[in-house]
């Protein structure tokens, strides 16, 4: 995993972690796979839920997250996005200086 990851990569890592677990995963596993702090993960998951990429499922065994069709679609397009961004040098800087 890269030391410096942009927002796009982090979102991809979270979605990929869910996808690799057959589309359903516990938050602790996402935390481990995505290499984020608990607070950062909460923020990202909140954004992904609000954008309709991920749904939260509450059951007796605890909280799990699963991908929506839009989440899968995002992963499909992600490869294309990365290839476009990489080839045209459009990578977002980690820290934007003003």
């Amino acid at each position: 995993m890269n030391k410096k990851r942009d927002r796009l990569q982090v979102i991809h890592d979270i979605l990929k972690a869910i996808q690799d677990r057959n589309g359903r995963i516990k938050p602790t596993h996402i935390l481990y796979k995505s290499n984020l702090s608990h607070q950062m993960l909460e923020e990202y998951l909140g954004e992904l839920i609000s954008k309709g990429f991920v749904v939260e499922n509450n059951s007796k065994t605890g909280k799990t997250y699963s991908l929506t069709p839009k989440g899968f679609e995002y992963l499909n397009k992600y490869r294309m996005i990365v290839e476009f961004v990489d080839s045209f040098g459009l990578n977002e800087p980690q820290d934007i200086k003003t």
Binding site: D6, R7, L8, Q19, N22, G23, R24, S66, L67, P69, F72, Y74, L75, N76, K77, R79, M80, I81, E83, F84, V85, D86, S87, F88, G89, L90, N91, E92, P93, I96, K97, T98
Partner: protein, 235 residues
């Protein structure tokens, strides 16, 4: 400004240059639209700037090619022109040329600004002002335009050289080579101002190769799109 070049380009090239500009317009528009789609999907700022830059370049070629087409049609229709017609066509030409220069310059400034990776309206506005304002006060806007656009292209090229050195891939090399050719093409057209009409033709063919390389890169990106496996229970 390109129609001023009518006096410096071979007669046989009239018409072909309009065709080339239409091709450039379509390619840059495709790149702009795709970059905007990437921006919408990713929410990233760099693709948005890239999209805006290519949209301005596309508009520059669109206005130039359409208006030149109209002038050419007018000239073909009225073989014998009265002095008044010639004056109005020259004025029309002048407006088209300035429109092209301004739109193309805004495109290049936006692209150069994007490569700086800063978020500053002050820097962007300063770049725009120092690029555009002198064009209205110089006695020879053509020279100034090609000079400033060459400088901007050198900065853009430096970005793509760094990008290639960071990621040595065929696609990054294609883009680097495309911008290198755009710079060479720009310099060639610059020489055509001094009555060397063949440079105008060479410059345009170099630009054609450059835009085709950009299109090829876009096609490669689309070709390499891979489908993610849907999880069980999801269609």
């Amino acid at each position: 400004m390109r129609m001023v070049h009518l006096y410096f380009m071979p007669n046989w090239f009239v018409g072909y240059n309009i065709l080339l500009h239409i091709i450039f317009c379509i390619i840059t528009l495709l790149v702009s639209l795709f970059a905007f789609r990437v921006h919408k999907m990713s929410g990233q700022r760099q693709p948005k700037l890239f999209s805006i830059a290519f949209l301005f370049v596309s508009l520059a070629f669109f206005i130039e090619s359409i208006m030149n087409l109209l002038i050419l049609a007018e000239l073909n229709e009225h073989v014998t022109l009265v002095l008044e017609d010639i004056t109005s066509i020259a004025l029309f030409n002048f407006i088209i040329n300035y429109a092209h220069i301004i739109l193309f310059s805004i495109g290049l400034v936006t692209l150069a600004y994007m490569t700086f990776r800063v978020r500053s309206a002050k820097i962007y506005s300063l770049l725009l002002i120092i690029t555009l304002v002198p064009l209205f006060f110089t006695s020879n806007p053509l020279y100034l335009y090609y000079l400033t656009s060459s400088i901007l292209l050198i900065y853009i090229l430096a970005h793509y050289l760094i990008n290639y050195l960071g990621k040595k891939q065929t696609r990054t090399l294609l883009v680097l080579f495309a911008f290198l050719l755009l710079l060479f093409g720009n310099i060639q057209v610059f020489f055509s101002i001094s009555n060397h009409e063949i440079y105008y033709v060479i410059g345009h063919f170099i630009e054609l190769i450059a835009y085709l390389l950009i299109l090829m890169n876009l096609m490669l990106v689309l070709k390499h799109e891979q489908k993610a496996r849907p999880a069980p229970g999801h269609s």
